[in-house]
Amino acid sequence: MRSQRSPLAQSLAAKVILSTVLLSLGVVWLTGSALYSQLSDGIKKVNLESSLADARSVFYNARYQFLLVEGASQPQIQAQVTDVITSSTSIGTTEGAREIILLKIFGKGDTSKNGQQPNYSRASNGLLATTIPENLRSKISKDFELSHQFAPLTYRTGKTIDALYVGQRVSIPDSGRYEMYLVFTLANQGATLDLIQNSLLLTGLVLLLLIALITWLVVRQVVKPVRDAARVASLFTEGDFTQRLQVESNDEIATLGNAFNEMATSIQAQISRLENLSNVQQRFVSDVSHELRTPLTTLRMASDVIYGQRENFDPVIARSAELLIAQIDRFEKLLQELLEVSRFDAEVAVLEPTDFEFIALVRRCVADLGVILDSPESQIAVVAPNTPVHIRADFRRVERIMRNLISNALDHSDGKPIEIECVETLTEVAVSVRDHGDGMEEASLTRVFDRFWRADPSRARTRGGTGLGLSIALEDARLHNGELDAWGAPGEGANFVLTLPRIAGNEISGRPLPVNPHKRSEVQIETI
């Protein structure tokens, strides 16, 4: 049963560790996310501020440079523009690069000058004006203020990179107004944020593992004593009453352990007291029976000698001798059965199985009892297979069961016929003993195997049965792993069915003969 359940349901430790880890995962996830977003916001803000400061100085420098060339020749201005562009940009498109775009603004009213004024529009790394976000451009064209926007930067090669665009208007002498953009690529910042993210993930993971480990250690501290207790308790249940928990500390677990041990000691004491009582009682019964046997033997021999001389006596004394013999017989039988019962009670009854033929045993019991009890043999009809039925069972006990059943039937048959039927299957043999006497109430059926129980207390004990026969028969049947069932109805007689495994000790798979004789015809019997 245990193996069918999932290991999670079985182990308290696994359950605690799993839930701790799951909860910790949530907490770590939340704190990690918050930390990451704060860090990335901070880093972006610092970067933005430094970039804007950078841009201001670049634009300021550009304006100053362009003022210097006021009135200079076109090539001089051209050279100055180139100088501004190159001094403000980094080389290549590496991380942390800075690009500059300079775009001439074609004012609406300046169309006349458009053709005359030289156009110094330039861009580092051959960037196209289209990469600049439209929003920013319209802002710049309207406003003299410094403006910025985060947007992707697209190189001519098609490479795209996150970037910060900062723009402002500048004027170049003899050429008019320009939009000037400084583009800061954010590759560096991205790398930093990636690093932070990875560190956070790694830290979180390690933290989770550590939490799991700590939980395991803690849980083990609690679970181990509980497991020990469970193991000891189950050993205790299996009958080893000497098992005790080891108590080494002073905590709640120790309290549990002490309580368990006290309980165990108390149970052990109770059981050994009961065992002792029961042993003493069994022994007493057995001793009494044994001690009674020797005087009974003397008694019997003496009475036999007297009985042998009865022809020489007065008829009253002769009859007394007969009664004496009969009562000694009965007394002896009772003694024998008491001894057998005490063996069953002490659970020392041992099965001694041998191979024998069942039908012959049944027939012989019928013949013997017919002779002994002075009943006409025709009163008992036996229906049995024609072929021998070999079984492995305790001959003495099976014979005793049959004798008990048959003499019980004879006791209650009121002289009406008795039917005995034997059947065999592959795994069982069964025999029913049916009488047509007064029968029993249904309520009596449960008590019919009770010791010294009589269906009708006022009824005379015609055959001198001891009142232990059926009880012993049931114990004998069960010792074989067989069963003895009783059926009866008032006025219809009684039926007793003995079912035995063909090999003593095997399980019986059913009842080849139903105990209720009226259901007889409905049942298919598998005969071989």
Partner: protein, 228 residues
């Protein structure tokens, strides 16, 4: 006249046994202690010993072993215990038969004693062969080649019963009635124990018997001459 030694510590029972046996024409020697048995036994060897199991001085099973050590006299154990282990212990110590107190009828006891005293195979004379053993029924001897094998009377009777009808398979019940003289007793343990004892004396290998062969589910029969 036949002499039976009655060993029982219960004075009344011993006296009663004396009365019954004397009435049947048997002389009786009464002994009440286990440790006195051997002295009386040597001074006045009986034809049969009736031996109680529970005895003061020395246990009946031990007494049985002592007697067996020096005599093949028939021994019938008397036991107040019907328990298997006591009976088997008595039989294994060398008892030929046992009776559980109280006996069904005193006449049954007499019958058993007579069976044990009788030459059971009075109808057979001369010699018999079983396996590689030669039995001289008249002289009451069993030999393998020149070697004499010592058997109790009961073991001898058991062996002769099997040998005189070589083809027949004997059920335990039929052996009980032929050798022990039981009319309808059912205790086949007697047969089993004595077959084991007999085998331990006559077989080359008691684990694989060739003289007294088991017929599974039926009983025993004599081994065929020359069969391995």
């Amino acid at each position: 006249m036949t002499l039976v030694m009655v060993v029982d510590d219960d004075q009344d029972l011993a006296e009663m046994l004396g009365i019954v046996l004397t009435g049947a024409g048997i002389d009786v020697d009464l002994v009440s202690r286990g440790d006195e048995v051997m002295e009386v036994f040597r001074n006045n060897p009986p034809d049969l010993v009736l031996l109680d199991v529970m005895l003061p001085g020395l246990d009946g099973v031990e007494v049985c072993k002592l007697i067996r050590a020096e005599s093949m006299v028939p021994i019938v154990m008397l036991s107040a215990k019907g328990d298997t282990q006591d009976i088997v212990a008595g039989l294994e110590a060398g008892a030929d038969d046992y009776m559980v107190k109280p006996f069904k009828h005193p006449s049954e006891l007499i019958a058993r004693i007579r069976t044990r005293l009788r030459r059971t195979n009075a109808d057979v004379n001369g010699s018999l062969i079983i396996g590689d053993l030669a039995i001289d029924v008249t002289a009451h001897e069993v030999r393998r080649g020149a070697k004499l094998i010592a058997l109790t009377r009961l073991e001898f009777d058991l062996l002769v019963a099997l040998a005189k009808e070589p083809g027949r398979v004997f059920s335990r019940d039929s052996l009980l009635s032929e050798v022990w003289g039981y009319r309808h007793s059912t205790d086949t343990r007697l047969v089993n124990v004595h077959v084991q004892r007999l085998r331990s004396k006559v077989e080359h290998d008691p684990e694989h018997p060739t003289i007294v062969v088991t017929v599974r589910g039926v009983g025993y029969k004599a081994g065929v001459v020359g069969a391995s």
